[in-house]
Symmetry: C2
Subunit: 494 residues, 2 copies
Amino acid sequence: MFEAAELGRKISKQEFAEQLPALRAELLQSQQALKAKGLSVVVLIAGLDGAGKAEVVNRLNEWLDPRGIDTHTFWQPSDEERERPPWWRYWRVLPSHGRIAVLFGGWYSDLLPRRACGEIKNKTLDRELDRVAAFEHMLAADGILLVKLWFHLSKQDQRKRLKQLEKSSPTHWRLLPRDWEHYKLYAKFVKTAERIIRRTNTGPCPWHLVEAMDDRYRDLTAGQVLLASFQQLLKNHASGPLSPPPVPAPPPTPKSVQRTILDQVDLNGRFSEAAYREALKKLQRKLNRLVWAAHDQRRSTVLLFEGWDAAGKGSAIRRLTEAMDARLYRIIPIAAPTDEEKAHHYLWRFWRHLPRSGWVTIFDRSWYGRVLVERVEGFAREEEWKRAYLEINDFEEQLVEHGMVLLKFWIHISKAEQLRRFKERERVSYKRHKITPEDWRNREKWPAYEAAVNDMVAGTSTEFAPWTLVAGNDKKFARIQILKTVCERLEAAL
Amino acid sequence: MFEAAELGRKISKQEFAEQLPALRAELLQSQQALKAKGLSVVVLIAGLDGAGKAEVVNRLNEWLDPRGIDTHTFWQPSDEERERPPWWRYWRVLPSHGRIAVLFGGWYSDLLPRRACGEIKNKTLDRELDRVAAFEHMLAADGILLVKLWFHLSKQDQRKRLKQLEKSSPTHWRLLPRDWEHYKLYAKFVKTAERIIRRTNTGPCPWHLVEAMDDRYRDLTAGQVLLASFQQLLKNHASGPLSPPPVPAPPPTPKSVQRTILDQVDLNGRFSEAAYREALKKLQRKLNRLVWAAHDQRRSTVLLFEGWDAAGKGSAIRRLTEAMDARLYRIIPIAAPTDEEKAHHYLWRFWRHLPRSGWVTIFDRSWYGRVLVERVEGFAREEEWKRAYLEINDFEEQLVEHGMVLLKFWIHISKAEQLRRFKERERVSYKRHKITPEDWRNREKWPAYEAAVNDMVAGTSTEFAPWTLVAGNDKKFARIQILKTVCERLEAAL
């Protein structure tokens, strides 16, 4: 694979000087155009030790307007990073609309040395690479341009480079002893590199192999690849500034949905007041202990609640929080996104609220908005909500792999029960603020929502993150079911 | 001072049950009203060990809608927190408009035990308390309601409480051995508490002393204080939802400003191309080494740039970044705030971008917008920009105390030179995007800006954070002056 990057290509000082002014002007101009259109770019810098990755990045910052670029390295993770799933640190630096992020290594950082040095096997590597490919595909689908540059050196050249670095005093300190160890494993590094590139060299996110021995050739090539990528993106968006996706006609409301998963929920469960009081007290006491135990064991918990309007999400959440020490949980009510959130992938706003080790986050509505309200109302395009199932499953898998306890509740009520509660809200003065014309409008779309919920459960009730469908016609019954489930899952996890 | 909180006040179970429903209903209602008006609240919970602070907070979360409350404790700071000035962790949890933050201890957390145990002296305590008072005053002036609750116990009661806690198994673990040690120092704790309260019991941010021995009395009183504070705030804002401050007529443009600080800047400095090239190369090489040295020593650096339109801020910044490794700096261009930023105090957006230890942040325009453009254009009310000098000085003092290297540059050019550059921008096609009608409008307000710059330098050029006024008529001269200053300051600091 690397033959084409070992050709000894060079660029003379003169040729470099001739080509540079035009390249810089065009780069700057495209950068301005990208900014104006609100397009984001991620530049991934990877390759062998000694290939001069830092030098390239410095050049790019010099050639472009550095005020629009954020350069990120992934050295030692901070404790706030270690306490979240490994990808948290990548999510937090994704560029907002109109900005360029240059990532050193990024999500490839550890893979090459870890595999080459034998810390992980191909099986683990491949699994990680599948995740990488899925993630990159997701970014691309979201309109983010990903430019992946791989800087290569032949074995002989790498040796030459490391020698040079050793000699030149200002950079000497940067040469870690590790580099020579890696050099000894050159063959393994190259073999692993090939595997990495092969498995992540996808249509929308291709790798660009750059021969790195000659500084001028390397830098100019990197600049040209960047420019060509910018220009291609701009061409794709030639129609004007990036506008929100055109709101398509919402999918036709199914006239009569066949039997759905929701029909399986037995809504007849009831609790007498006395039985409820007793069970509630017992379970809340238990939950209090469990949440503290989870804190002591530094396990974090994510609870999310979805359900029909007036299903009783809020009051169910309160029965949980009553039981927990207020110092240990945070509730994130999901309403309209802020503009910073709108300038990122829709999952970004959930990643940013993931709890640190030992804490609980409760989402009152969640990332499932993508496949529920956004689908039904047509706020997300069909291809967007259709790929959301995969994106969500991968997200949740990462939470669970990190050791988080994740519980997902859909509180179900019958259509008749919803009507009863809406009318009650209209009647009772202090409940009136809870009912809006929008609630009535949503109600008219019941069959469409029913279909969406069915697909949601079918598509995202996984072994590692199953849905709990809660029978909500009796609020007491629902609360006990939820408390019980949370206790059971926490108990099993601790 | 605490006599009034040792009266043995109690509330019977029955009385509590009678009063609670009305209190809860009113609390909820006020919370909704506060949210609707976009008003933020900080509830500070402080007091002696064993007073039941956690229990009160749980009650408040139960009585209010917990979805609008964020509870924060300040246990071990994370490394991301330790690498910023101590107040960073408080700034990051300040509530946005419409939300309530409940802070355990907050900025008082360590003061009481540290002084009572003799770790710090009164002098240090007083200095910290002055900062606290200034900070609280700033929040209040910004429209944030601060409710400060101090929970008190007599010595005898504290002993009783600690005994109870020791016995009751579910809370037992929470009793740290430290608590008994503190109990032995009861007299010192109370004396310190009195000092703390006395010095921070200001008009807009009063303390509420609550007798804490009887749970019901304690919780009900806390709820009542909160309600009364909410209602007072709502009354103050009865005129309608919080609207942006009415834009006042901008201060009259001074016809002819007397001699200002800017007149002292000798704009005649010039550099020949050759001398410039040489000096630039030498200084950039030096700066590269210094920035790496600062990184190795984990010192962070904040550079900020202000100046007339077309003064050459951007190109000066590039001469700096060319010299630095892109992995070590970040540029924050300050344009219109995002809506998350608008929902906080104006300094919040700068706090959030402070670098971690060993990194450099460059602000392209800065917090000085408050006393420059916001003053001149009338975006900030007079009382707002007038108190900004104090707020900024305190902010910068905290950066410097933390060991950050802080440099502030005003790039000065003459009015004639600005005209020349504007015209050049209009003439040269690739510079044309840099000139807008707004630039011309700003130019008309030159005397008003001149007065604002003069006041800015007079009010904020402090011993710990002096301004560097840069002679910018010759760009080369300006760049060398800046590079030289940065190198000198870094050298002195390392």
